[in-house]
């Protein structure tokens, strides 16, 4: 094993100094700072040479040390000669020093204060709003073209999306709805037991699932499943310039890519909502019959009594609105996607976040409106 690094400053004549380097100058040795060496240079030093005859081994950490040292020398007006360094080190140093470091490239990536970050995020948010509205306007125009028969619309695209969004989502919607129905039944049983009215579990589960929870759960599942997929698909098309190819042909990408997706979700989410309600009620029945000793027939008639057409209307309307919101968020983020793999990931994430946010806002607004209208 070679000795660890060592250096020694020698003065050959007045003002001319030689730095003698010996031993191992490698990364794992914990090399000295250039400043520490520079501070030991004589105050009247005019030139600096190197003697590396006893240098055993070196790597790029030596170069880094030397580069810093040479900079300090340049700043202090000391003429440094690299002639005494190993040949390879001389060449690498020359390469590293050849192109002056560019400063002021307009990049300021340093850490920012929390106030600046909050400010930037707020500005970013408000800058996003006009883009969201513009996209909504474009979609409205596209639907106008569709209704007046001037849209370029391929039915096959709609069917592909419907298949992807609807039937393929059934397993996950089933599982979640069943468990949520089960939770609702337990929750209700506990409270209704206090007044001895456990049969009303049926009402709670039926109305809860059909009116509210079925649509909400389906919405959240589809936002995570399909909203993200939409954003990723359109984002990848953006990266591949496929969207540009549409534009240069004078074909509105919205007509071709966004309208079928929105239609598919507006049609399929209400149907999934109905299905979700049905599965939830099955779970409620199962719990009531096995745990709380309510008869199957009793539960069935109570459910029929509780459910009116209005509840179905409310559930379906919510499902449809949520579907539109999810598709809107997914397509928006996909079309806004940048031109890198990372941007596609961000678009997918953002689609889910935006989708769930929009669903929740819509759910609150609709619940209040329906309550006020006594529906």
């Amino acid at each position: 094993m070679d000795r660890a690094w060592q250096f020694d400053l020698r003065s050959a004549e007045a003002g001319a100094q030689v730095l003698v380097l010996s031993g191992r100058w490698c990364m794992d040795e914990g090399l000295p700072e250039a400043d520490a060496v520079a501070s030991r240079l004589a105050a009247n030093a005019r030139s600096l040479g190197f003697d590396t005859t006893a240098l055993a081994d070196w790597d790029s950490s030596l170069l880094n040390f030397l580069r810093n040292l040479l900079r300090i020398c340049a700043a202090r007006g000391i003429a440094a000669s690299t002639a005494g360094l190993p040949k390879g080190a001389q060449r690498l140093l020359a390469m590293a020093m050849a192109v002056p470091e560019k400063t002021l490239l307009g990049r300021n990536n340093g850490p920012r204060g929390i106030v600046a970050q909050v400010g930037a995020a707020t500005l970013e948010f408000f800058r996003g709003v006009p883009a969201m509205l513009a996209f909504l306007g474009e979609i409205t125009q596209a639907f106008g073209r569709l209704l007046t028969g001037r849209a370029r619309f391929r039915a096959r695209d709609l069917w592909i999306e419907i298949e992807e969004v609807g039937p393929r989502a059934l397993p996950i919607v089933s599982v979640i709805s069943f468990l949520v129905g089960l939770i609702l039944a337990y929750l209700g049983a506990d409270q209704l037991k206090l007044v001895g009215a456990q049969i009303f579990i049926a009402d709670l589960v039926a109305i809860g699932m059909v009116r509210e929870v079925g649509a909400l759960m389906t919405g959240i599942i589809i936002a995570g499943r399909t909203g993200a997929a939409f954003a990723a698909q359109l984002g990848t098309m953006q990266v591949n310039e496929e969207i540009d190819a549409f534009k240069t042909l004078g074909i509105a990408p919205i007509d071709f890519l966004v309208v079928p997706r929105i239609l598919a979700l507006m049609l399929m989410v209400p149907l999934l909502t109905l299905y979700s309600g049905f599965i939830g009620m099955l779970a409620g029945l199962l719990v009531s019959v096995t745990i709380f000793d309510i008869g199957v027939f009793e539960y069935y008639t109570e459910t029929l009594r509780a459910l009116t057409a209005t509840h179905f209307f409310v559930g379906l309307s919510k499902g449809s609105v949520y579907g539109a919101m999810i598709a809107y968020a997914g397509c928006l983020r996909g079309m806004q996607c940048g031109r890198s793999a990372e941007a596609v990931g961000r678009a997918a994430t953002s689609a889910v976040v935006t989708g769930i946010l929009l669903i929740t806002i819509a759910a609150s607004v609709m619940t209040i409106v329906y309550y006020q209208l006594d529906i």
Binding site: T236, M237, E241, E242, A245, L249, G250
Partner: protein, 250 residues
């Protein structure tokens, strides 16, 4: 066709927001010419191409096709002019959810009233032109890079455009495949009289097919009018000669 040059670019400035990538871009392309826009990385070649085809408005200046102002026109008129262009993107930009035949057929179905069998015939012919007969039912992901480029060319040629705009034809292709693509471009120009604008930094390609050219300088953000590339290689601007010689002293 009136006497105006096929493509006329006057004093164009391109860039993003405050950042001007190129200013004073000025050239004219005659009918049937193969015009090369060359320059190093980051010089604004692709940005210029996007301004030429209507994807990104220039900061200043005019682009005219057959004497008609492109960016000054109403959206619908601009789309009509756009239809005279066929564009081959750098990554081919084939629609990934459609087969090759559907990719080529889509523009035709959009802008003509031909019947399905008629369109199918045209599509088969276009694919045969680029040497992809029999690949109608393949999806873009099932093709090699060279095949994708050729399929992209078939789609760009779908509406028999007067002008073909090609972004980096040889990027990602091996030298032989790149050369075949060059030959195909020249062949199409010779037989159809199509005007071709090629954006590239591929020297072999520039020297082999260019009739006329401009060089975009990344350092000064201005262009150098270079004329015929072979001529420019012999006695053009020193900077351009250096570029065309891969940095050997001009």
């Amino acid at each position: 066709m009136n006497g105006a040059p096929h493509i006329e670019v006057r004093d164009l400035a391109i860039g993003y927001g405050d950042f001007v990538v190129q200013r004073g871009v000025d050239f004219a392309v005659g009918q049937g010419d193969i015009f090369v826009i060359m320059g190093g990385n980051g010089c604004g070649k692709t940005t210029l191409m996007r301004a030429l085809v209507g994807l990104q408005p220039p900061l200043a200046g005019t682009v005219r096709y057959g004497g008609k102002d492109f960016w000054g026109a109403e959206t619908e008129d601009r789309q009509r002019l756009q239809r005279r262009l066929g564009i081959l993107f750098q990554g081919s930009a084939l629609w990934s959810s459609l087969t090759l035949a559907e990719n080529v057929a889509l523009p035709i179905a959009e802008y003509t009233s031909l019947s399905k069998p008629q369109i199918d015939e045209i599509v088969a012919f276009k694919l045969a032109l680029v040497g992809l007969a029999g690949f109608e039912e393949f999806y873009p992901s099932e093709l090699s890079g060279g095949m994708k480029k050729r399929a992209g060319l078939a789609r760009a040629m779908a509406l028999d455009p007067e002008i073909l705009v090609i972004d980096e034809p040889s990027s990602g292709l091996d030298p032989l495949t790149a050369r075949h693509l060059d030959e195909l471009i020249v062949e199409l120009r010779d037989s159809l009289g199509t005007t071709v604008v090629v954006v590239t930094h591929d020297l072999a390609s520039i020297l082999a097919i260019g009739d006329n050219s401009v060089y975009l300088d990344a350092d000064t953000h201005t262009m150098i009018s270079t004329g015929n590339p072979q001529e420019a290689l012999r006695n053009g601007d020193p900077k351009v000669r250096q570029f065309l010689k891969r940095g050997d002293a001009a």
